[in-house]
Amino acid sequence: MAGHAQPVSAFPGISAALLVVALILGTLGAVALRAEAGTGLGASDWAALRFTLAQASLSALLSVGLAVPVARALARRRFPGRALLIALLGAPFILPVIVAILGLLAVFGRAGWLSSFFGLLGLEPVQIYGLHGVVLAHVFFNLPLATRLILQGWQEIPAERFRLAAQLKAGPLAMWRLLEGPMLRRVAPGALAVVFAICLSSFAVALTLGGGPRATTIELAIYQAFRFDFDLGRAALLSGVQLLLTGAAALAALRVSAGEGFGAGLDRAVRRWDGQGAAARCLDAAWIALSAGFLLLPLAAIVLSGLPGLADLNSTVWRAAGNSILVAAISTVILLGLALPMAAATAAGRNSLTELSGILGLAASPLVIGTGLFILIYPVADPFALALPVTALVNAVMALPFAMRILVPRAREVLGRYGRLSLSLDMQGWAFVRRVYLPRMRAQTGFAAGLAAALSMGDLGVVALFADPDFATLPLQIYRLMGAYRMEAAAGAALLLLVLSMGAFWILDRGGRWHAEA
């Protein structure tokens, strides 16, 4: 598909990619320039590197490994409440870490539901702390994302293919070999790379559930370099290491995930003729029930603990909620403005540079970006006044990798199939974008927008550096409440955040798929 004329220009996408690269590398550079003579990496930094790699690899393999059967079950089944379940399954991914951890502990902790249940049976309580705790939490966070990415892959197989396979009486094995296997080979490496990269830069989870200093990640080392040592050089160096690692992982994933799609269908709703046997039904039901239990119980715990606190919410919390909604809205608009052209450019071009630059957002430390922006903005403008746009912009860049994973495969599909036809009809540029590209990207655009809005809603990162007295976002307000011992009000605010994030995700995602799929 590469190497010949395309109906869309790659120029806007490449410009957007350059902007993203400039933001990430520019801020890193700004931090490095402000640094005094660097000290290099110490023994503890190398230990942090090893632990970071080990937990991220394990978390990625498990998340994606489990996501395959779950996504397959969801792809094959239609049942009432399926759309709601899929939206709910997305919730863990977008929760602020502290909220999610408290939810997880209510279920898996020492005094949690599972341990109480084991106690009734005369068993020891579960031991959640340690590497397995970190991996458990990362799977909780990332299984939903991996499931959605892979489910997307299943849904991108045109209905006609399934019909054809059914007419040819393809058994489960043949179905796997012809349709599902090749699809997974295309989609899974990308999902692996994304989850790996997310887990690379995680640190609050690793710290809280890791059990102690063994569970040190690079991001914690960056954090310490900033906060207590104010060693910008070391922070920049560590951040560079993190960027390289993720970049390498992303490149590797892009290499293996290239390949032809399945071609275009007539956008009919997918119907499945396979997997109607009793065994397949039971298996799918079990996977759906297990994953729903694993993901929804901690959410239920958050809801239960938050309900009594709802009465405590005052105007400051509501104002913070309003700010969060505003940031999420702006962030989503910025994200789509960057991601849609970048996806088109990636699909139209031979090289994967635009795609790679999209992944960079995952690897960059929000602390380093925030600090770098502060250094850059401070001499020319008041950082307080820019708190809102800066937070929205950084959140958009952070959501970009997910959006790219969602948009690019579909963009390839669209350009690959309709590109020549459109050219032959002399439909190019804006006309193509408006009549072919955007309508066919609608489901994916909705999913990406929903994810971006929800992620931005739950983000704590950059706003802390730019926080203005009148400008607190909801996650920041939750920390403030906890700092003042108002745990109940904080739990109430956390529930509000959960509802807002879920609501934003559901509305946008649903809006995108409206009319498109049963």
Binding site: L102, L105, A111, F203, L220, R480, A484
Partner: protein, 325 residues
């Protein structure tokens, strides 16, 4: 919200509004929250200063210092409120802070004569537990017990760093031995205080590193007497919270006025039931009812700022080595 305030200013007494001098104070997040001292302090100071007090929350103590360092001499801040003695040496090294002329009858258990920083409250670190459970009387007893504790990471939180200093001040070179003993008691190490305290309230641990004044919150604000702090025989490490004036402030007089106001009755009487710490100067009305139930450590431990700065890296190395095994 800002636009509304701005519009209100334009429509109202705009001339007076524009001429009101503004004093900017950087502080930590929980200080400015609705239930923190911020709103009451702002109201009380604005009643006497004829100025607009702008409190800006910027993370916690350590993040606050990083913010000031980032901004350097061009900082908008006039006063920085919320550093502690583990950070003041580094803060002075920046050369960004000016000396003060405040003197007061401090109620601190230690001598205070710092030319740069004025203390506004203090507290003792302590392990908080459920009152109905017996508590160990020192670190060795804690290490020998099967009590589970949650602590904070000294690399990311100020209480975590305080605990490191506590063990170092109490045990000196024996500190690694204490940490070895404690390692099987530590359920986990969290990023910050909020995570740890939340986990303790969820029942994840028997004890959590916090302050001797934490039970006062539960008692006074929630009428819940079920939390206590364990009294340790080797003494309790103190945290003294301080504020300082920036040398490059454009409001030097107002900044001085604020520092003096900070140790006055109006400010100090707000502290105990909003920041849940001891006031640096005992208010005329005394401490609020409920504070008398708190444990009063026999011995107060506090490393000088230079000792703390010198010991930190070595103590952190010991801590990492011992607990990584």
């Amino acid at each position: 919200m800002k636009h509304l305030a701005f519009a209100a200013g334009l429509l109202g007494a705009s001339a007076a509004f524009a001429e009101t001098p503004e004093l900017t104070v950087y502080t930590y997040d929980s200080f400015v929250s609705d239930w923190g001292p911020g709103p009451a302090v702002e109201k009380a100071f604005e009643a006497v200063c004829g100025c607009d007090l702008k409190l800006v929350g910027a993370g916690d103590g350590a993040a606050l210092l990083a913010r000031v360092k980032l901004e350097g001499e061009r900082s908008d801040a006039d006063v920085v409120l919320g550093l502690d003695t583990n950070l003041t040496a580094a803060a002075k090294q920046t050369g960004l802070f000016a000396e003060h002329a405040v003197s007061a009858e401090y109620a601190l258990p230690v001598e205070w004569n710092d030319a740069t920083f004025v203390p506004y409250d203090w507290g003792y670190f302590a392990f908080v537990h459920n009152a109905d459970a017996a508590a160990p009387a020192d670190f060795r007893a804690l290490a020998a017990s099967d009590k589970k504790i949650v602590i904070q990471d000294p690399r990311s939180s100020t209480p975590g760093l305080g605990l490191l200093m506590w063990v170092k001040a109490a045990y000196g070179d024996e500190a690694p031995e204490i940490w070895t003993g404690l390692s099987d008691n530590i359920v986990t190490v969290t990023k910050g205080w909020s995570e740890a305290y939340g986990m303790f309230l969820e029942g994840e641990a028997d004890m959590v590193l916090s302050y001797t004044t934490s039970p006062a919150y539960h008692l006074i604000a929630e009428e819940d007497g079920s939390k206590s702090a364990a009294a340790f025989d080797e003494g309790h490490y103190m945290q003294v919270e301080v504020a300082g004036k920036l040398a490059n402030t454009d409001q030097p007089e107002l900044a001085d006025q604020f520092l003096a106001f900070m140790v006055s009755d109006a400010f100090q009487s707000i502290i105990p039931t909003t920041n849940w710490m001891y006031p640096a100067v005992t208010p005329a009305a005394g401490l609020p009812e409920g504070f008398e139930t708190l444990i009063a450590p026999e011995k107060s431990l506090l490393l000088s700022e230079t000792e703390a700065a010198e010991l930190r890296d070595a103590a952190l190395g010991e801590w990492l080595d011992t607990l990584s095994q």
